[in-house]
Symmetry: C2
Subunit: 135 residues, 2 copies
């Protein structure tokens, strides 16, 4: 049992470092992932369809692209046609690869006429703090 | 070894569900965490001091408040005085508790004269997609 417990502890520590990749990179390897913010305004008449495209795109990205760390999408309560997406990528290559995936292209082309405006903001990371992270 | 491997697999699955609390709540328990966006403009002359307060506040929150799932803070490259914070809380009680913590009050009072504008946006979650999550 002592051996199993040691292995479990080791496995837990490994999972911890694997599952919070931005924490790992941010605090240990001193590599900062790329964060981008997307601010969109959607045609109100097509909002539900737009959200279906977006959810499907996020689901595929999450499943297929380990280099995409977060795609957190919300709408503003004060104006539900306003969408905000908090996007985190391991590095620039992961971002560029994401733009070429079939699921992203499907989303981009499928929603072209639904998007009234799109603002893509590049950022510098101050700190990405998450619960359960170890420092 | 067969037994150890089974335990390792079990431990890995457990860690996975524990370490991505929003995924767990979002996809299994059907509880959606609260997401808020903060948009701030900081006095350029006090930007470095402001960021020190913010980093310290995020570090304390991450360490002390398991109900705060993310405090992801970035500045815009096009205007570094513009700060964006993506805040995720387990529930409303966690948000309200956060506002009463000594570290938040210290941040809030310490930065009062550094913040030129603050916009707090309530949101509805569309999807919080993260790498390595299981659905």
């Amino acid at each position: 049992m002592g051996h199993s417990k040691t292995m479990l502890f080791g496995a837990s520590a490994l999972m911890l470092s694997l599952l919070w990749p931005w924490e790992r990179m941010y605090s240990e390897e001193k590599i900062t992932p790329i964060v981008r913010l997307a601010e969109l305004e959607i045609d109100p008449a097509q909002l539900e369809q737009y959200k279906e495209f977006l959810e499907e795109e996020i689901e595929s990205t999450t499943r297929l692209e380990p280099g995409v760390l977060t795609l957190f999408a919300v709408s503003l309560k004060e104006d539900p046609n306003q969408i905000r997406i908090f996007e985190t990528y391991v590095d620039l290559a992961a971002y560029e690869a994401h733009l070429k995936t079939p699921h992203f292209i499907r989303y981009k082309e499928g929603t072209r006429n639904m998007v009234r405006s799109l603002r893509l903001l590049e950022t510098d990371t101050i700190r990405l703090g998450g619960a359960n992270s170890k420092r």
